[in-house]
């Protein structure tokens, strides 16, 4: 229901029950909000979004107060400014500023507000940093948490728990609570990186976020006594509709051509599309599903592309390890193909090839270190840069991304099917696999390839599909916390499903921990929609119909069964907790 309210002496008709902050955002009225994140519960803890309601004595927080008919709201006044200024100074007193290397890239809310209230003389160093000596933690080879930057909003703790992980905890030390990694033996970080996306203070980053972003390009440069390597880049499906945001372009804008041009510009010798790897993953996984159905063994098949999910199963649900598809993820299949098939074709010694993946994902950094993924003794991917890290590299090189002339990826692995592109969104793997598995199971052509039931941002999506006279149940799980719920639900019979897709990050890879910040459901929807529009525009929309997939299966895999297996498949095992180092 619409109600009339007054904000800053102007009348508005707004939806009753929305918060003051939501209403103000919709009407372009600026209210500072630091601990507020649309993905998370309302906490009202930073105390910056203070506003006044006529007739109410105290200041109220706009993030938590819901509008009622007749509210007369002031969002700026001397009292409000004073309160915001002091609380901002107090927040800065716990935050060690390191703006030059921060994931927020000078775009954080703290700095914005310091500037906004500049004329009121906000002193960001009014108090001594009380956390100056707080430790930095490193989780595996992936995530760094600098607790001296933490402003105690606890968004990370909530997000970690929403993910069903619970690795970040609040612990009382002395009289103060601190965010710390769990010391519990069975609770481990899965490297999804959602803490990075949800921290307003830049306390989380990847291990490589700043110092190491040039590193993957070094092998391309002649070093003393060493021969140049061929440095090959591959980029994930999700990036083509997100990296533009880092350069001020609209959320979800398709920037495939600029991305390829940028990769060449910074010095990559070859540029391939991981979506082509996804076509191989789909084809292999669909065959696996068909095989398991025939043998009625290890069903349901759990998807394997998300390394955070795979690690979660290995540590928390080892009984389902046998259900995970043994097919490798797109980046590792493509990496393996580059070092085998492509190397052979181009007559390059694979040891002289250095494969770098540009990924929306932080856990991919962990994935490439898995020993089971080696192909002929080599790592299939040598380095992973996240979307953010690659964007930062471009900024350092002063490359004007938006103005780059679009280029095409290199042939061979440059042209994916539509199915390979939608991998980046939740449900995409399932939809791709269905397009292929249906045809493999029935021998018939699938006419309507759009599988809309598995699209969208709901946490758990279920569908029944009729394949070859039999109704099969499938489920798509969006967000790891929902997977935990799904698996723990007593009434649910996991065995009744044929396939279950799980993506750890909200919205799938497009909402990954390596993606541009800020993030929100609206932004993720835009990124996903653009992937689906790319799919729709493709002539080839089924993975197994991609000519390069057909060619490699026919010319290469069919007479190299051992290599085919090494390129396409991997194994899993129960894992102990990874290292957590205090720096």
């Amino acid at each position: 229901m619409k109600v009339q309210i007054t904000i800053n002496n102007k009348k508005y008709k707004v939806d009753e029950g929305k918060t003051i902050l939501e209403v103000c955002e919709e009407n372009g009225i600026d209210i500072p909000a630091l601990c507020h994140h649309p993905d998370l519960d309302i906490k009202a803890s930073c105390r910056l979004c203070l506003v006044q309601i006529k007739g109410v004595k105290e200041l109220v927080t706009a993030c938590s107060e819901r509008v009622c008919k007749g509210y007369n709201i002031l969002t700026e006044s001397a009292e409000i400014t004073k309160a915001r200024k002091i609380n901002l100074e107090l927040l800065f007193s716990q935050h060690k500023e390191e703006c030059f290397d921060c994931v927020w890239n000078y775009n954080c809310e703290l700095l914005r507000l310091a500037k906004k209230y500049k004329k009121y003389k906000v002193k960001i160093n009014r108090f001594e940093d009380r956390k100056a000596k707080y430790p930095v933690y490193r989780f595996g080879n992936v995530i760094e948490f600098d607790s001296s930057k933490c402003i105690d909003c606890r968004n990370c703790v909530e997000m970690c728990s929403k993910q069903g992980v619970g690795f970040l905890e609040i612990k009382e030390k002395g009289s103060l609570f601190q965010v710390v990694p769990s010391a519990k033996k069975n609770i481990d970080c899965i490297y999804c990186g959602q803490c990075i996306n949800h921290c307003p203070a830049g306390a989380f980053e990847t291990v490589d976020e700043f110092e190491n972003i040039e590193k993957p390009l070094l092998p391309a440069c002649r070093q003393a006594g060493k021969k140049n390597k061929v440095v090959v880049a591959q980029f994930a499906p999700a990036i083509r509709t997100s990296i533009g945001e880092e350069f001020g372009l609209a959320g979800g804008k398709v920037v495939l051509g600029q991305l390829v041009a940028a990769l060449r510009k910074v010095g990559f010798n070859k540029v391939f599309d991981t979506s082509v790897g996804a076509d191989f993953t789909t084809t292999s996984e669909a065959l696996e599903v068909v095989e398991r159905i025939k043998q009625n063994k290890n069903l349901p098949v759990l998807t394997s592309c998300c390394p955070a999910w795979v690690k979660y199963v290995e540590q928390r649900y080892p009984k389902y390890i046998k259900n995970i598809s043994t097919t490798k993820s797109p980046q590792t299949i493509l990496g393996a193909l580059i070092k085998t098939y492509w190397a052979q074709k181009e007559k390059i010694n694979p040891k002289n090839i250095y494969v770098v993946s540009i990924m929306p994902c932080t856990a991919k950094k962990f994935e490439i270190e898995r020993p089971q993924l080696k192909v002929q003794g080599m790592k299939s991917v040598d380095y992973v840069l996240t979307t953010r890290e690659f964007a930062r590299l471009l900024m350092r090189r002063k490359i004007n991304f938006a103005k780059l002339k679009p280029e095409k990826p290199d042939a061979v692995f440059g042209n994916p099917s539509g199915a390979g592109v939608i991998y980046g969104a939740t449900g995409g793997v399932m939809e791709s696999a269905f397009r292929t598995a249906y045809e493999k199971l029935t021998g018939k052509t699938l006419k309507n390839v759009d599988f809309k039931k598995v699209r969208g941002m709901q946490g758990i999506k279920e569908a029944e599909v009729k394949v070859g006279g039999k109704v099969r149940k499938i489920a798509v799980i969006n967000g790891l916390g929902n997977a935990k719920k799904f698996l723990n639900e007593k009434k649910r019979k996991i065995k009744q499903y044929t396939c279950i897709e799980v993506m750890a990050c909200p919205g799938g890879c497009i909402g990954g921990g390596g993606q541009p910040i800020p993030t929100s459901n609206d932004i993720r929807v835009k990124r996903a929609d653009s992937l689906y529009s790319l799919d729709k525009a493709k002539k080839v929309r089924k993975a197994h119909e991609n000519p390069i997939v057909k060619k490699v299966y026919k010319d290469y895999f069919s007479n190299n069964e051992k290599i085919a297996h090494q390129v396409l498949h991997t194994s899993y095992n129960k894992k102990p907790k990874g290292p957590v180092v205090k720096l």
Partner: protein, 323 residues
């Protein structure tokens, strides 16, 4: 007897310190539409120098339980918890159980620091979550423990209800008197007593130069001898300080220690503001401008009543005693 009407007639205000009219809360929970409701008797007493709930549980637990039974009767489909500080739980478990008999009243141990006694924190604790306050509204009367309408009242409020039910209520209130006095203890006096009356009637009025903390032992305000014609608010603590013997910095240190331990560190002004007050006290360097700023955000922007009131003792002591 319609107990809610009686509570209204006697103008009973909640005895936890916030002084909310008891009959309103009872009526809200009674009228709320829900299949099940909860009643919580709050015996988590955690303010400094307050021991009246302990005294009541020690001497009048029968009336407390009677008050809870009245609430159970007044509010259909309800069951109750008595939420007790750990040592009280140990001390009064047997006694309370004796009076509870077969009534649906469970004893629960408190978790967390001082703030563990705040009404929404208790709801969180009962649901086995972190002891942190919830955003209000919704108030517990509508959305309390397990999302159901919940009546949360102090031990003393239930004592009053029990007394009323037995037609023995005489407008009494319990006051904890401590500090530099001869006769320390808890006294049952008229609920409208002023600080002066309390000190006189308990034969505690000092002969030396002194000041008083009135209300709570941490959150109460500092009063000078000429200001004692004020009623004692909050949880009814009166603490007398011999001006000559009292080191105000040591006293403030006691308070900051209490607040730093007892708060939940959720909101910025309370977590950081009190930390900075403590820092200034430790450095023996009180900066007036900074103090004023912190008082301001504590009072105006804290999440819960703990932070909103925490500025009072510092502000009044520094203004009136340290100068």
């Amino acid at each position: 007897m319609d107990i809610i009407k009686e509570l209204k007639k006697h103008n009973v205000l909640g005895r936890s310190g916030s002084c909310f009219p008891a009959h309103l809360k009872w009526q809200q929970v009674k009228s709320a539409k829900a299949a099940k409701k909860y009643i919580i008797c709050n015996g988590s007493e955690g303010e400094l120098k307050s021991f009246k709930d302990e005294y009541i549980l020690e001497n009048y637990s029968e009336y407390v339980v009677e008050g809870i039974k009245q609430a159970l009767k007044a509010i259909p489909n309800s069951s109750a918890f008595i939420y007790l500080k750990k040592d009280y739980y140990k001390k009064f478990k047997k006694r309370l159980k004796k009076h509870i008999k077969s009534s649906p009243i469970k004893l629960v141990k408190k978790r967390g620091g001082y703030l563990g006694g705040e009404e929404t924190v208790i709801c969180e604790v009962l649901e086995d979550r972190r002891p942190e306050p919830r955003i209000k509204p919704p108030y517990p009367s509508y959305y309390g423990a397990f999302g159901l309408p919940t009546l949360v009242n102090n031990v003393e409020t239930f004592y009053v209800a029990g007394k009323i039910a037995k037609k023995e209520y005489e407008n009494e209130k319990f006051f904890s008197v401590s500090g530099d006095v001869k006769n320390k203890g808890v006294f049952k006096l008229d609920k409208c007593s002023t600080v002066k009356q309390i000190l006189k009637q308990t034969d505690n009025y000092p002969v030396f130069d002194f000041f008083v903390q009135s209300g709570g032992g941490a959150m109460g305000e500092i009063l000078l001898p000429r200001e004692l014609n004020k009623q004692v608010e909050g949880i009814g603590c009166v603490v007398v300080f011999d001006k000559e013997k009292t080191d105000p910095f040591k006293l403030m240190k006691e308070w900051t220690f209490f607040f730093l331990q007892g708060n939940c560190d959720k909101c910025t002004p309370c977590r950081e503001g009190i930390y900075r007050i403590d820092e200034m006290i430790n450095k023996n360097n009180l900066d007036k401008k900074t103090l004023d700023d912190i008082y301001f955000v504590l009072e105006k922007t804290s999440f819960c009543p703990l932070g909103k009131n925490a500025y009072k003792p510092f502000k009044t002591l520094i203004k009136k005693v340290i100068k």
